[in-house]
Amino acid sequence: MTGRARGAVIAAALALVLSATTACAVPQRKDDLSVTKVAAQPEEIGQIYDRYAGVRANALKLLDPDPLRTIESGPVLAIDAGSLQVARRLSQTREIDSSQDLTVETVLAPRLGAYPLWFVAVVRDGVREVIRVQIFQRDSATSQWEMVTSPETLVSTVLPSFALDADSALEPVDAGDADGLALAPQAAVDAYAAALADPSTPGATYVLDDSFIEQMREAATASASIKGVEFSQDWGTKPVQYALRTSNGGALVFATLLRQDSYDIADGRAVNWPEGSEQKAFLAGKLYTAGILRYYHQVLMYVPPDGEGKPRVLGQYGGVVSGEGS
C-alpha cells in the first residue's frame, strides 16, 4: 500500500470513528477540485457597492469625472464622464441635481474559473425612478472592482428572473451559443445594431422594433431635417461579454452599441447648437464644415427561448463620449 493510500485509509478510519462518536469537524475528501469560485459573495458585494456609491456621490457633487476612474471603466466610464462634462456646461446656465438615492435590490454572481470576475447588481435609483442592472468587474486579482455596464429600465419593466445553479450562482451564456435561444447573444446584438442603422436590412426582421429603436430613429430624423446639414448615423457593436441564462431558458444580454452621428454642413451655412445641449458641450462654438459625435449605448437585451418571440431591448444607458468638429 502506498503512503498516500495508507494515509487515506487512516484518515477515513479516523473520520469514521470521529463521525460515529462526536459532532466535531470531520475531514472530508472534496468532491470537486475544479478551480472555480462564485465571483463575489453578497456581503462582499455590499461593501463594493457602498464604496461605489460613495465615490459616485462625490463625483456628482463636484461634477468631476476623475473620481469615477477608480470605480468605473470602459464604456460606462466614458458615458458618465461625458454626462458630467455636459452637466458642468449646463451648470453654468442652470442648477444641477447631484443627489442620488441608490438601493441595491438583488446581487448575484456567476461561478467562474478565471479572471475577469464579475457580478450583477440590480439597483433602484430613487432619484431618477429607474432600475439599474449593473455589472461590476474585477480584471485581475490585484485590481479593484469597477462598474463596467449599467443599462437602465423603467421601474414598471418586468425583468425575467435569472436562472441559478445549485450554488445560487448565475449561469453565463456564451456569446456565440444559440442553443435553445431565438438567436445567439452576439447575433441578436448585431441584428439589433443593423436594424438601428437601416430598418430595411434583412437582419432587422430578426429583432423587435422596440421603443429604443423608435426613439433613435426619431432623433435621427430630427437631425436630418436641419436645413443645410447632411446628417448620417452609423451603428456598431462591441463584442458581447456578459450574457446570462434566464429561468425560462432565454437569455439576458448586456451589450454596448456604438453610434456615430456625422454632420456635413453646406458651404456658407453654420450650425449653432442650443445652449446646454450635448452637441454644444462637445462641439464648442458654431459648426461650419463638419462635425462628428460618438455615443455609447449600453443595452439590456432579452433574447427569448427559441420560438417564443424576437429579441428586444428592455433598457439602455447611453450618452455622448466624444466629438469633434470645425
Binding site: 484518515a11 472534496k30 477540485l33 469560485k37
Partner: protein, 256 residues
C-alpha cells in the same frame, strides 16, 4: 449463537479500544496534531500549494511560517482562482502534493522574481497573517478549491523558510477516550454473552450421600445427622457426564 455474538463484540471492542487509544494519543489533550518545523529550500519569493494539494475540507489547520533575520513574511489562504491569477507570472515553488502529517512534493515554476502587488494590499484572502521573522494563521479548510501561499514581503525572499503545521481535531481527544470507554463497555458485554452459556446451565450442586455398609456388605443410605455418629472410612467421588458430580461418603461401622 450468543457465544458467537459475544466473541464478535469483544473483537469489535478491541478495535474500538485500539482506535480510540490511538486517536487520543495522536491528538492529545489539546486536540491538535503538530508537525514541524520543516525546512523548504528556496530562494524564491513565493511558495504556493497546487489547487489539488489541499484536497480535504473540514479540519482546522494552523500554519506557522518562519524566516531568519527578521525578514517580513506573509502566509495566506485564498481561492485557487485568486491565488493562481495573482502568482501566474511569479517564480515560485509549487507544492504539488501534501501527505498528512507532513510529506510534500514540490516543483519549481519559472517567472518574475517579484510579486505583482503586496499581498497585504489584497482583499480576497480567506485567512492571512504577516510579520517580521514569522507569521501564523489558522483556518478551517473550506469545500471550495483553495491554495495556501507563503510570500515574502518587500525586497526579501524566502531563503531559510521553515513551516510548522498543526491540524486541529476539535473533540478528537474526548472522542478517543469515549471510544476506549465504549470499547471497554462492549468488551464487558461480550464477555457476559460468552459466559452466559455457562451461567444458564444447571449449577454444579455437590450432592452428598452417606452410606452405611453392614457386615454383610449391604449398603444402607443414612441421613447426615446419623452419619456424623460414625467414622468416615472412605470418601468416594463419582461423576457422571451430563449429571452433577456426586460425592459419596462411606462411614465405617463404629458401633454405638
Amino acid at each position: 449463537m450468543r457465544r458467537v455474538a459475544g466473541v464478535l463484540a469483544m473483537l469489535l471492542a478491541l478495535v474500538l479500544v485500539i482506535a480510540g487509544a490511538a486517536t487520543a494519543i495522536v491528538v492529545g489533550p489539546d486536540n491538535r496534531v503538530v508537525t514541524g518545523p520543516h525546512e523548504i529550500d528556496t530562494e524564491a519569493v513565493a511558495v504556493v500549494t497546487k489547487p489539488s494539494a489541499l484536497s480535504w475540507s473540514g479540519p482546522t489547520v494552523s500554519v506557522l511560517v518562519e524566516v531568519p533575520d527578521e525578514k517580513p513574511v506573509f502566509v495566506g489562504l485564498g481561492s485557487a482562482v485568486d491565488v493562481e491569477d495573482y502568482l501566474q507570472q511569479t517564480a515560485r515553488v509549487q507544492v504539488d502534493d501534501i501527505s498528512v502529517p507532513w510529506k510534500i512534493a514540490t516543483s519549481s515554476v519559472q517567472g518574475r522574481k517579484n510579486l505583482p502587488a503586496s499581498p497585504t494590499a489584497l482583499d480576497w484572502w480567506l485567512a492571512d497573517a504577516a510579520g517580521l521573522g514569522g507569521a501564523s494563521t489558522s483556518f478551517t479548510l473550506p469545500n471550495q478549491t483553495v491554495s495556501l501561499a507563503i510570500l515574502s514581503v518587500g525586497d526579501s525572499d524566502l531563503e531559510g523558510l521553515q513551516v510548522t503545521a498543526a491540524y486541529d481535531v476539535s473533540g478528537g481527544f474526548g472522542s478517543g477516550i469515549g471510544l476506549v470507554a465504549l470499547g471497554l463497555g462492549l468488551a464487558v458485554l461480550g464477555w457476559l454473552l460468552v459466559r452466559q452459556r455457562h451461567l444458564l446451565q444447571p449449577e454444579n450442586v455437590e450432592e452428598v450421600v452417606y452410606v452405611y455398609i453392614d457386615d454383610d456388605g449391604v449398603e444402607h443410605e443414612i441421613d447426615p445427622a446419623t452419619a456424623h455418629e460414625y467414622e468416615i472410612v472412605e470418601d468416594v467421588e463419582l461423576t457422571d457426564p451430563g449429571q452433577p458430580a456426586s460425592r459419596w461418603h462411606v462411614p465405617g461401622w463404629m458401633g454405638r
